[in-house]
Subunit: 243 residues, 2 copies
Amino acid sequence: MAIPPALSDCDSIALASGGLDSSTVLAIAKDQGYRPLPLAFRYGQRHEVELECVTRVAEALELPEPLILDLPYSAIGGSALLGEGEIPPEPGDGAQNRDHIPSTYVPARNLVFLSLAVAAAEARGVRDIWIGVNSLDYSGYPDCRPEFLESFLRTIHLGTRDGSGADQQGEPYWRLQAPLAQMSKADIVLKATELNFDLSLTHSCYAPTEDGSACGICDSCGLRKRGFEEAGVEDPTRYAENG
Amino acid sequence: MAIPPALSDCDSIALASGGLDSSTVLAIAKDQGYRPLPLAFRYGQRHEVELECVTRVAEALELPEPLILDLPYSAIGGSALLGEGEIPPEPGDGAQNRDHIPSTYVPARNLVFLSLAVAAAEARGVRDIWIGVNSLDYSGYPDCRPEFLESFLRTIHLGTRDGSGADQQGEPYWRLQAPLAQMSKADIVLKATELNFDLSLTHSCYAPTEDGSACGICDSCGLRKRGFEEAGVEDPTRYAENG
């Protein structure tokens, strides 16, 4: 099947949410000489502003126009991030809180997103998948853990056309690139700053106000705020007044 | 998030394509006392007649109304099963042909379908996923191999809310039910016949004619035809005249 020309102009696929982490991954990939296709999803999230951020970030980094896929998560159900319920405030406490899975967990989200990234990569003949997970300052989602990613990598080598063998150098075909894996939120802020990447283009809040301000109190805002504080970098985020 | 009541009336999720294999799995699951929710996908396949078959089969077996999810495979690309190209005739030769991956392979399809099945199961609090793969008479797809399924199972235990621990009996949380795994196409035809399941409700052809007849020459038709022949069961399939 023909691949739309604009979308084959890439050498890798990067999961992109418009947030601080995945946007910094795009900047890191570019800095390493890659040209990732940002892959984002419209899945009924209440914070659709993130899709605008993905596009702005891709433009700023001169990357290919993002591929935005519609996913029927509303029919699948099961998360406070979707639909009408309240987002309970759960100020980020990262590593101290690893046994708690928050209500904002979306069922199997990284599994689904990564699987579609693999499909998009296989269709384009590229082998690198970039993902912005970090296991130090994370929100307690099981699908961000390194052991999950390692097992996923083994699975796709067994279950894809391109993964059934190694390449000519005997290397495994697929590569999951998770450059933030061992970084704290502060490390990520510092890395973005070092790369002159404008973090004001990014968006992290789970429950933005109508004018697009971050709430300042959700788990994601909490992690982000503390990252800037610990990095000693001025936070360009526009927070709502009660945040 | 509230789950639509009609969709929570299940104790498991079953990948359903309307074909001979997955439909027989539904009959087997019902016979074992399960009430699976059939999960099907509208992904730009040219043989959308399969979705009608999923609904007919679910009705015949008195199962919940199928959940049919739209998937953006047309934007992902990469298979002769999608889009306009010719389906090359590749008469099924099953086990003799395991090194060849046919052009009808859809990138990472079972990975994507299984991932969404896990999401749907997690949202409903059910733990069994039924899938109609069989590794004896298969079409050479890497994502039908038992080692792929075993690795996928390990991955979802690591990457989901419900899989992070075992259940109260110490059993692994997730179960992939693949009752056809060790069956030939003829075995499957015999099993369906034993269960009084009407295989004329099912559809296997990759390239049906406009009136819904099976082409009789594609890989999938070839495997199906031979299954009936070897089982000594009359084939109720309506084939096009040149098939």
